[in-house]
Amino acid sequence: MNALDWIVQLMGIALALAAAPALVGWVNQCRAWLQNKSAPGILLPYRGIRKLFSKDAVIAENASQLFRLAPYVVFGTMLTAAAVIPSIATQLPFTRAADAIALIGLLATARVFASLAAMDVGTAFGTLGARREMMIGFLAEPALLVVIFVVSLTCATTALPIIAERLSAQAFSLNPSLAFTAVAFTMVLLAENARIPVDNPATHLELTMIHEALLLEYSARHLALMEWAAALKLFNYACIGIAVFIPWGIATSHAPSGLAASVVWLAAKLIAAGAGLALIETLSAKLRVFRAPEFLATAFLFAVLGLLVRLLLGA
């Protein structure tokens, strides 16, 4: 463990912090193109966050301290999660503090705090959003865990950097269990990040939304933190997917050339992933809320199928 390790670690965190809104902007831009609309600039999310930070915070009369604490906790957990996920390098000192299961726990912590904060004001929409968010969560979380389980069986560890390192050392081959789990993971990613078909990030019709209902009472800096945390969440999920399913190109040592190549690789993968996400969102229609559990149960079954295939075929 030396200084260089920590510098790379901090670089990774800073990259997540800086690039997360750009990823959201990129997905929005792609989606607008695909839907034949004039696209907003990729920097729009940054402008939104800056604008929100300089506004006056309006807090509901009934809100308790928990309501004001939650945005900081959600943002903090998302940033800590970014520190745990190997995005540009695998030799990261902090990642020993939390493996993939702890990472899922971390994401669950953020979800629970966001839901509790939404219930705090005591409006119909807040509790509705909290209930739906937790419903999505309790189905998505085990699916994600089984995905991690399959990969952990392959690599005999739950430490994400080691998983990424071992998988990137293998030559590319069509691994059936990983293919099933990749489908499951994509479905979980869509659900957890409030994307179509589970939720619509563009809607503001209260009865149909989930993520926006959670944030309904937030304004100004609190909303900015929540939005930024949501962007970080998308970035984190994308990076988990990249580390597990397409890890090739990640830096396994701290040679500057390798790191530079790794950043370029990561950018290319994220651009592709964002475009793919926009494509999925454009091609599918939003499900009714009560179809969402079926969608996630399918994801769970795909992951379990991946597990069975892994145990049956050993591949």
Binding site: M119, T123, F290
Partner: protein, 669 residues
């Protein structure tokens, strides 16, 4: 026999006797709340702390100390033994009971139906009998303590015996407790293996035929499963635990259920010798079923204590799942994974003792402040009762399995041990076992849902009733009790390596060896070094805390800190009120919808022309309807037939005695 007073076992016995004395002292002034509450319960708490300390000391220096007390029937002395397994469970009894007793000191203000002094006696006898269960080293002593435990807790459950539902719950509890006790008794009867010596040493030495051993194991599983609330023997638990006063509910859910786990570990890993691997599949599958069943039933509950009771069923399921997995591993000779799994199980038992006690005491404080236990009449209490709310939040987050608190660590360990399941050298089984991890993950995630409902509906939002405006926070003594348990949840979460190395004394005693040693620093948990899976809760928490503080400070420095209060957004219609929030039924609705086949739902919907619309929803347990009601009818029918014998004439009864004597004489000759 060595009666030296500084031996841990003698000290434990003296402390248990002291608990009994404290209880008896309550009878001196049974109606004085100042004496019973303010004096006796704190003394009980001190004894609990001392017991935990003595047990911890004996865990640090394992000795398997024995003692034979010549009391009881002639030629049947009481055998006692303090080994590592007993020590761990004595800590589990002593440490949470400190918080519960402190809380009880402030809680029993008005008396709960039974006179406070009598409650004090029952409470402390209950504590002491649990201690004796853990120390007993022969079947007689064990059953004596076990029955005392059941009876004392029965009287505690029926403290408010004037309420018919509580009497009914108490009866069901007593019935199930005795059915379970019979099964345990029969199990011991088989375990002695024809030697007719009922000491545990004789049972360890006895060689049982494999079939008999399997029968003994199944009987033990029924007996201890009934006490632990394993599905389908759980029906008494959601009725009995909420019926008791809250400190007693905390003791029953937090501690008493663990004596059943203790008994199960004692029988399957110690008395039966090396477990047979396929025996483990039974507790494993029943445990998984219980975990899911419990948490699915917890979600739609509207009574807060009943919700917690179902959550206990879930946690018992997790414990038995782990126990079964450990037996499978031990049976096929995979000792390191078996040790890891057993450590995870015991760790989870200790964690659950703290978090569930904390939550039950939290509901007790709410119950005292508001007189309401129905979630539909609560809400917004975080403003009126901030201490109770924030301390309960720690318990809720812990039981939801969120890092860095304690519930996460034990679930993490259990999932890590499931990662070895595919290496079990049995075809087909090695493919099914990892699926258990998927179900376990589902149960854990659902627990998060349940806890958000529990905490959110009680403490957050707007008060659903006007009377809640007058709710007062718990008193200082009660806060102390809650804080003790919350501190336990935090510390158990932060220092897993210390606790695991302490627990490895148990796995060594049970011939599983200790976990492979690693060169990791004390703050880094690496259970199996070759796997490189690691977790460092302190670093983890510090990182989140640093990020939160940094963001907080930098946002305030760079921008401003202006805050305005305004009414909540009402979509421009106006007239938002507290009745528009989700009710407890509403919050549980997705679960009810998703797991519909499990529930027996009776729903009464209002019609469009009703002048007084009524909505009623009752959620029944299908197992109760399918299993217990027919059984009850059958028993009643047989009893009616047998009642023919009772003619009510003295002459007939004398005839029965005469016939019995003749038959016995004939048999003797």
């Amino acid at each position: 026999v060595n009666y030296s007073f500084n031996s841990p076992l003698t000290l434990c016995l003296l402390l248990l006797a002291a608990w009994c004395m404290v209880g008896l002292a309550g009878l001196a002034r049974p109606l004085s709340i100042a004496f019973v509450g303010r004096t006796l319960f704190p003394v009980g708490a001190v004894i609990g702390a001392a017991l935990a300390l003595v047990a911890a000391a004996s865990l640090a220096h394992p000795s398997s100390e024995r003692l034979i007390l010549p009391i009881g029937l002639p030629d049947l002395p009481v055998h006692l033994r303090l080994d590592s397994l007993s020590s761990v469970f004595l800590i589990l009894l002593g440490a949470p009971s400190v918080g519960i007793s402190i809380f009880a000191a402030g809680y029993f203000r008005r008396g709960e139906g039974t006179a406070p002094g009598l409650l004090c006696l029952q409470y402390h006898v209950f504590l002491a009998s649990m201690g004796f269960v853990l120390l007993a080293d022969d079947a007689y002593a064990f059953m004596l303590a076990w029955e005392t435990m059941a009876l004392s807790s029965y009287f505690l459950v029926t403290a408010q015996h004037r309420i018919p539902e509580i009497r009914q719950a108490g009866f069901l509890y007593l019935l199930m407790a005795h059915l379970g006790a019979i099964a345990i008794l029969l199990s011991f009867g088989i375990l002695q293996g024809g030697t007719w010596h009922f000491t545990f040493d004789a049972m360890r030495a006895a060689h049982l035929a494999p079939d008999w051993a399997a029968v003994a194991f199944c009987l033990a599983l029924i007996g201890f499963g009934a006490k632990a609330g394993l599905v389908p023997l759980h029906v008494w638990l959601p009725d009995a635990h909420p019926a008791a006063p809250s400190p007693v509910s905390a003791l029953m859910s937090g501690v008493m259920l663990k004596t059943a786990l203790y008994g199960m570990i004692r029988v399957s890993f110690d008395l039966l010798g090396e477990p047979v691997w396929w025996w483990g599949l039974l507790p494993l599958s029943l445990g998984l079923f219980s975990a899911l069943y419990g948490v699915v039933f917890a979600a739609p509950q509207t009574d807060m204590k009943r919700l917690l009771a179902y959550s206990s069923v879930e946690n018992v399921g997790i414990l038995f799942t782990g126990l079964g997995l450990a037996m499978v591993f031990a049976g096929v000779g995979m000792h390191a994974p078996a040790a890891l799994t057993l450590i995870a199980v015991i760790y989870h038992a200790v964690n659950h003792a703290f978090m569930k006690s904390l939550l039950f005491l939290g509901t007790g404080a709410v119950l005292h402040a508001t007189g309401e236990r129905n979630l539909g009449h609560l809400g917004g209490l975080i403003h009126r009762m901030p201490w109770v709310a924030w301390l309960t939040l720690i318990g809720a987050l812990a039981i939801a399995g969120l890092p860095p608190l304690n519930g996460f660590v034990s679930e993490w360990l259990l999932l890590q041990s499931f990662l070895f399941a595919h290496e079990v050298p049995r075809p087909f089984i090695n493919m099914l076992l990892p699926l258990g991890a998927a179900l376990l993950a589902l149960a854990a995630a659902l627990a998060g849902y349940v806890m958000v409902k529990f905490f959110g509906v009680i403490f957050l939002g707007q008060p659903r009733e006007r009377a809640l405006q007058d709710a007062r926070d718990a008193g200082l003594v009660e806060r102390l009790g809650l804080a003790w348990l919350a501190l336990g949840c935090v510390l158990l979460g932060f220092f897993p390596t210390t606790i695991i190395s302490a627990l490895s004394a148990v796995t060594q005693q049970l011939r599983l060896g200790r976990l492979p040693s690693s060169d990791a620093p004390w703050w880094l948990l690496v259970p199996i070094p070759e796997r490189q899976s690691s977790y460092a809760p302190l670093v983890f928490f510090a990182a989140i805390a640093v990020v939160v503080v940094l963001v907080f400070v930098s946002v305030r420095l760079v921008y401003h800190q202006r805050v305005r209060r305004a009414a909540a957004w009402d979509c421009g219609f106006g007239g938002l009120n507290s009745r528009m929030q989700d009710t407890a039924e509403g919050f549980g609705q997705p679960i009810r919808h998703l797991f519909q086949p499990l529930f027996a739902i009776v729903r009464e919907l209002p019609g469009p022309f009703d002048t007084s619309p009524r909505y009623r929803l009752e959620i029944g347990d299908r197992l109760w309807i399918a299993l217990y009601l027919p059984l009850g009818t059958l028993v009643r029918r047989v009893a009616d037939k047998v009642a023919w014998l009772q003619q009510g004439r003295i002459a007939t009864y004398l005839l029965y005695s005469f016939v019995t004597l003749v038959v016995l004489l004939a048999l003797m000759l």
